[in-house]
Symmetry: C2
Subunit: 372 residues, 2 copies
């Protein structure tokens, strides 16, 4: 019996084959450039997919919350990095997991450093997150006063150990010129390393974004990379040139509930609570919330470009597909279609589990299999 | 000890007082107009909040998926209506819950009607969903051929019982002139009732959208209303004029993790996985993903308009608040702020539970308390 026959409601499918190929490609690249790959597990959020990653020599991962770090701890990871400016309300939870699992944090202000010094009961590492222009989070790259204030506080405790500098060049999602951006990233991290390595000879520099890690071939003296999305990829990454559609490792299976032959539209059970609401713009200005693939016994087939169909609108549970002529000819009420997500991290988080193509449930930090 | 001291991570707060007042107001309005109120529980998705609703004479509710209907069944509801075009892959699950819980469905095509006739093992009711211009789902209001084809199929089985016509005037979210829209809704439903009530003397007409149900005072001959969002309301509804900000019954508590005094920005742990990504546009064209309220022992306080602060951007877990001068003066790293959501249904679904202001966990169909 095919995995498809078990599906009655919206279900997130994962191709282990594509996912492993994505991990292997990035692991090979990291090795080629002498970088330590510590992927950001905010995308997969899964213990089982963590086991797949270990097959390619990956020994460290990142989480984006203490909750996720708790979920991933005790699974044999050499270190789990919480890649989010640390929230001091969570020090008690941190002390608990860091007692048995090597943890590192991000610190971007003296208040947080001081509270950690005061309240840590077990050792943790920390990176100072650097903002080299993205403007979301981090210490400005030239604010040596702030960097040194944090380092000085940390020195007061043997439990808060400086590991290095972390830079998430998230503007690679918005900027067309990734090589230019990387020049900036490399220069920022190299400058900081040169400035502080006399005092901290072991200090590491890490960069993170998937578009950059996927596209770049020159990482300069950077020591580590921590991309996340590459594990699954998605339509956003494809648009940015970091992957092909055939590299996308997850697809939402959605049941067809109605077909409108006048409008060439197909109504599916699959909306914002399943896919999340990230959206791309089509050339004609219309919205694209995900693209149709044809499901089969072995996974899915991507239509030729002239037969492309996509979700033109979604609400909480409804999705409306703008269907190609070829899809209109074959679609039947009660059958399933696949939807490649615009932003796979958000879709996986909304769904809270995966179904493998051999019918196995793959865990996700957020929930039970029958979530939706 | 305050409910606030128990919070370390993003947590969705619910004010029972505001929520009950919202339910009572709509129940009073329904009674005043002689309408049966069968609210859409896609917003609250909660058994406990269902108990609150029963205090105001509410005996029937709606769900947007079979999963949600399963979760709400067995709780003493006279009927649960699945307000989504029925998905025939779920007939086995339907037969199971409808064996012990009165269920009604929406049917919009003959294929679905026929499969129900063939495979139902227990009786269910059904509404035909009508599209009077919204264009999302439903049988076109003038397509009597299709309506009668569905009715004819249903007559073949004593298990598939026609209850009436359902019309979701969802364009009230986009159209400024709600009274004109309701004229259309009333006319459509009245016409259908007049046409079919000789044959179906018990047939009911139901309309659903919150903006219309909140704003209108003339429902004509409509029998039932099924709004959902009014239970919590949100910034989108406030913008549409259906509520005041003080009617919004939920707020996301988020910890402050950094403060940028140069940019007047506050970084919080609270992003797309908590709030979802619905967004409003400010007058200056900037984005608004939620507005700041000040949390206190009794709930929250809404700042004066000149001291308004809002989330100007979010990513998966990060939120950046564009802060007013007064908020910049008082905000401290490690403290909590509240965020009124743009779209409360999506936020509640993303969070999967609520915390009441007296520290009790309020259930939600989607998950466990410590979801994020």
């Amino acid at each position: 019996m095919s995995y498809l026959s078990s599906i009655s409601s919206p279900t997130l499918l994962i191709s282990e084959k594509i996912c492993r190929a994505n991990i292997k490609r990035m692991a090979d690249k990291a090795e080629r450039h002498g970088l330590n790959l510590a992927p950001h597990w905010k995308t997969a959020q899964s213990r089982i997919i963590g086991e797949w990653a270990k097959d390619y020599g990956i020994t460290e991962i990142s989480a984006s919350s203490i909750k996720m770090a708790e979920y991933l701890s005790g699974q044999g990871w050499k270190n789990i990095h919480i890649a989010f400016p640390f929230n001091i309300r969570e020090i008690p939870r941190l002390n608990k997991i860091a007692a048995t699992q090597s943890i590192s944090l991000q610190v971007i202000n003296p208040v947080t450093a001081q509270r950690l010094v005061d309240e840590l009961t077990v050792p943790v590492g920390f990176f100072i997150e650097i903002d080299a222009g993205y403007g979301r989070t981090g210490v400005s790259v030239s604010d040596f006063g702030l960097i040194e204030e944090i380092l000085l506080i940390a020195k007061k405790s043997p439990k808060l150990n400086f590991k290095g500098f972390y830079l998430h060049a998230g503007h690679s999602y918005y900027m067309p010129d990734i090589p230019e951006l990387y020049e900036q990233t490399r220069n920022a991290l190299d400058m900081l390393k040169n400035k502080y390595r006399t005092e901290y000879p072991e200090l590491l520099t890490r960069t993170g974004d998937t578009p950059g890690c996927a596209v770049m071939e020159d990482f300069g003296d950077i020591d580590e990379m921590g991309p996340g999305n590459f594990v699954f990829y998605d339509l956003m990454q494809e648009k940015l040139g970091g992957c092909f559609k055939s590299d996308i490792a997850v697809a939402l299976a959605v049941p067809i509930v109605d077909i409108n032959r006048e409008r060439n539209e197909i109504l599916v059970h699959g909306g914002g609570v399943h896919l999340a609401k990230d959206v791309l713009k089509e050339e004609d200005g219309s919205s694209n919330f995900g693209e149709v693939v044809y499901l089969n016994e072995n996974g899915w087939e991507i239509p030729e470009i002239q037969n492309r169909s996509y979700l033109k609108s979604i609400s909480q549970e409804h999705g409306i597909i703008k269907a190609s002529d070829s899809l209109m000819k074959t679609a039947k009420i009660g059958e399933l279609l696949g939807i490649l997500p615009v932003h796979s991290c958000m879709t996986a988080d909304a769904m809270g589990s995966y179904l493998s193509l051999d019918g196995k449930i793959i865990d996700h930090c957020e929930g039970s299999f029958d979530k939706k």
